[in-house]
C-alpha cells in the first residue's frame, strides 16, 4: 500500500470508528463538542509555569480513551506527524527564560524549561481531545452540533466540504504520483524539477473534481444547506455526562488537586 493509500485508509478508519455504536459515540454531538471546547479552553488557560495543573487535565483524555474503546497506541501512531510539530511549540523558551523557578533536590529547573514542558503538555492534550472528538463523532454530527449552537451555516458547510475534499485531494495525489512513477521506472521519489508541474496538475485536477462533486451534490437537491441528522434519541445521561465533566474541569482548573492529594497522602 502506498503512503497515500495508507493515508486514505487511515482517514476512513477514523470515520468508521466515529460511526460505531459505542458508549461515547452515542452521546449527543453537542455535548461532546461543547466539552471539547471547554476542555481546550481550560487547558490553555493554565499559567505557563503551572505544569502540574496542566498535567492533571490529562484525566479527561485518559478516561475517554478507556471508555470509548479508541486505542491510545493507534492515536499516537496516527498523530505521529502532528505531535512533533506540537512539541516544537515553546522549544526556544529555555534560551530566553533562564531564571530558576523550581528546585527538585539538586535539579534546578529554569522558567523556560518549565514553560516549554507546560506548553508541550497543553498542546498534546488539546490534540488528543480533538482526536477523541473526531474518533467518536462523525463529521456530519459535529456539523449538526455546530448548527445547534448557531455557528454560521456557511462556516459549517465549509468544514464539511473541506473534510470531504481531503479524500478527493489524496486520491488525485495518488493518481498523479502513480502516473509519474510509471513513467519514471527505477527512480526513487519525484524529481525536484517535476514538483512544480505535478503540484499544479494536482491542484487543477482536484479543483476540477471538487467542482464535479459540487455539481453532483447540486443535482441531488443540495442547495447550500445540509440537513444534518443523527440517529438515536437524546438521553438524560448526556446532560449528566456533560455536567459531571464540567464539574471536573472546574475542579481541576481552579483547585490545586495534586497538592491536595499529596497533602492528604502525607
Amino acid at each position: 500500500m502506498s503512503k497515500i493509500d495508507h493515508a486514505i485508509h487511515e482517514f476512513q478508519t477514523i470515520e468508521q470508528m466515529a460511526k460505531r455504536d459505542g458508549r461515547v459515540n452515542r452521546i449527543h454531538p453537542l455535548v461532546k463538542l461543547c466539552l471539547t471546547v471547554l476542555y481546550i479552553a481550560a487547558v490553555v488557560s493554565f499559567p505557563k509555569y503551572n505544569l502540574a495543573g496542566a498535567a492533571v487535565m490529562a484525566v479527561y483524555p485518559i478516561v475517554l480513551f478507556n471508555i470509548s474503546g479508541v486505542s491510545f497506541a493507534d492515536a499516537v501512531k496516527r498523530l505521529r506527524i502532528v505531535l512533533p510539530l506540537v512539541l516544537i511549540v515553546g522549544i526556544l523558551n529555555p534560551f530566553f527564560d533562564r531564571r530558576i523557578v523550581l528546585e527538585i533536590g539538586a535539579l534546578k529547573v529554569s522558567g523556560g524549561v518549565l514553560s516549554m514542558l507546560t506548553l508541550m503538555i497543553k498542546a498534546v492534550l488539546t490534540v488528543f481531545s480533538s482526536y477523541l472528538l473526531i474518533a467518536t463523532t462523525p463529521i456530519e454530527e459535529i456539523c449538526c452540533a455546530m448548527n445547534c449552537i448557531r455557528i454560521p451555516q456557511v462556516f459549517v458547510i465549509e468544514v464539511l466540504l473541506i473534510y470531504r475534499y481531503i479524500t478527493v485531494l489524496l486520491s488525485e495525489a495518488r493518481r498523479v504520483t502513480d502516473a509519474y512513477l510509471l513513467r519514471a521506472p527505477g527512480q526513487k521519489g519525484i524529481a525536484f524539477r517535476a514538483w512544480g508541474p505535478l503540484a499544479g496538475q494536482m491542484l487543477m485536477r482536484s479543483m476540477d473534481r471538487a467542482e464535479q462533486i459540487y455539481e453532483s451534490m447540486r443535482v441531488r437537491g443540495f442547495n447550500g444547506q445540509f440537513r444534518l441528522r443523527r440517529k438515536g434519541r437524546n438521553s438524560p445521561f448526556d446532560i449528566i455526562y456533560f455536567l459531571v465533566w464540567v464539574l471536573v474541569f472546574i475542579t481541576l482548573r481552579f483547585l490545586p488537586v495534586l497538592e491536595m492529594v499529596g497533602r492528604a497522602a502525607a
Binding site: 479524500t167 486520491s171 443535482v219 441531488r220 440537513r227
Partner: protein
C-alpha cells in the same frame, strides 16, 4: 400521445463566445420514452444533458421540464424530477459508504428517516447491489461505482433519468444488469452514449447530434442501421449490426 416531459426550443449554448456547443436545438420527449443521444466526441451530448438538469443556466432558447420553465427560481423543483448520472462516477460519489451516498438525495429533500431507508433499500435492490450497502466508496471497483451512482439517482424516484455514458467501466455482466435496470425504469430516460449497442438495447428513439446540431431524430433501429449517415458524422454501425 404521451404527456410531454421535456420540451426544448431553439436552444443555443456556448462555453466561449461565438463557438456554440449546441446550436438552435429543438426537441421534445414524452413520459415513457427512452431517447438515445449519439454523436462523435464534442457533438454536445453531455452539454445537452447538463443543461437539462440546470448545471448551466446561461443558455439561449427555452427548456421546460414537466411544464416548468428551467431557470434559477425553478431549479430545485426541476431537480426533484430529474436524476442525472454523471459520466465519471468517481466524481458523483462523495460520501463515505454506499448507503450514505444513496441516502444523500432523499435526506436532502427532507424525507423522514424511515422513508429514506426504504428508498435506499429499494434503489440498492433495483441495481442488485444490496451487498455493497456498507462498503466504503473508496473500495469499490469501477463497475460497482457506476451501479452505485445509478442507485443514488434511483433513490430520488425521479420522473426522468439522464445518463451520460452509463456503460463506461462496466463488465459484460454489469452491462446486462444495467440494460435490465434501464428497461425496467418506466419513465422518460435520455441516454448519451458512444455505446451504440447499448442504445439499441435500451432506446426506442435516437437523436444524432453533430457540432451541436440535431442531424436526425427517429426510431433507433432505423437510425443505427443507416451506415452512410453514421459514418458521415464520425460514427460506425453498432457491433451487433455490422456482423
Amino acid at each position: 400521445m404521451s404527456h410531454i416531459h421535456i420540451e426544448i426550443s431553439d436552444l443555443t449554448f456556448e462555453y466561449e463566445p461565438d463557438t456554440p456547443v449546441l446550436d438552435h436545438i429543438s426537441l421534445s420527449a414524452g413520459e415513457h420514452e427512452s431517447v438515445g443521444i449519439i454523436g462523435a466526441n464534442g457533438a454536445g451530448k453531455s452539454t445537452l444533458l447538463k443543461l437539462l438538469v440546470g448545471l448551466h443556466l446561461n443558455y439561449k432558447g427555452s427548456i421546460r421540464v414537466e411544464e416548468i420553465p428551467l431557470k434559477k427560481e425553478t431549479l430545485s423543483r426541476v431537480r426533484e424530477r430529474i436524476g442525472y448520472v454523471f459520466q465519471d462516477s468517481e466524481s458523483q460519489l462523495f460520501m463515505t459508504t454506499v448507503r450514505e451516498d444513496v441516502a444523500f438525495a432523499p435526506e436532502n429533500y427532507g424525507l423522514p428517516e424511515e422513508e429514506v431507508d426504504r428508498r435506499v433499500e429499494r434503489a440498492l435492490e433495483q441495481v442488485h447491489i444490496g451487498h455493497l450497502r456498507d462498503k466504503s466508496i473508496y473500495r469499490l471497483s469501477g463497475g460497482e461505482k457506476k451501479l452505485v451512482s445509478i442507485a443514488t439517482i434511483l433513490s430520488m424516484t425521479p420522473d426522468i433519468i439522464l445518463m451520460d455514458e452509463p456503460t463506461i467501466a462496466l463488465d459484460p455482466k454489469n452491462r446486462r444488469n444495467l440494460i435490465r435496470v434501464v428497461n425496467e425504469f418506466g419513465h422518460l430516460k435520455m441516454i448519451a452514449s458512444h455505446d451504440l449497442d447499448f442504445i439499441l438495447d435500451t432506446c426506442g428513439r435516437t437523436i444524432l447530434l453533430d457540432h451541436g446540431r440535431i442531424i436526425k431524430d427517429g426510431p433507433t433501429e432505423e437510425l443505427l442501421t443507416d451506415q452512410e449517415l453514421l459514418e458521415a458524422h464520425g460514427l460506425e454501425l453498432p457491433l451487433s449490426m455490422s456482423r
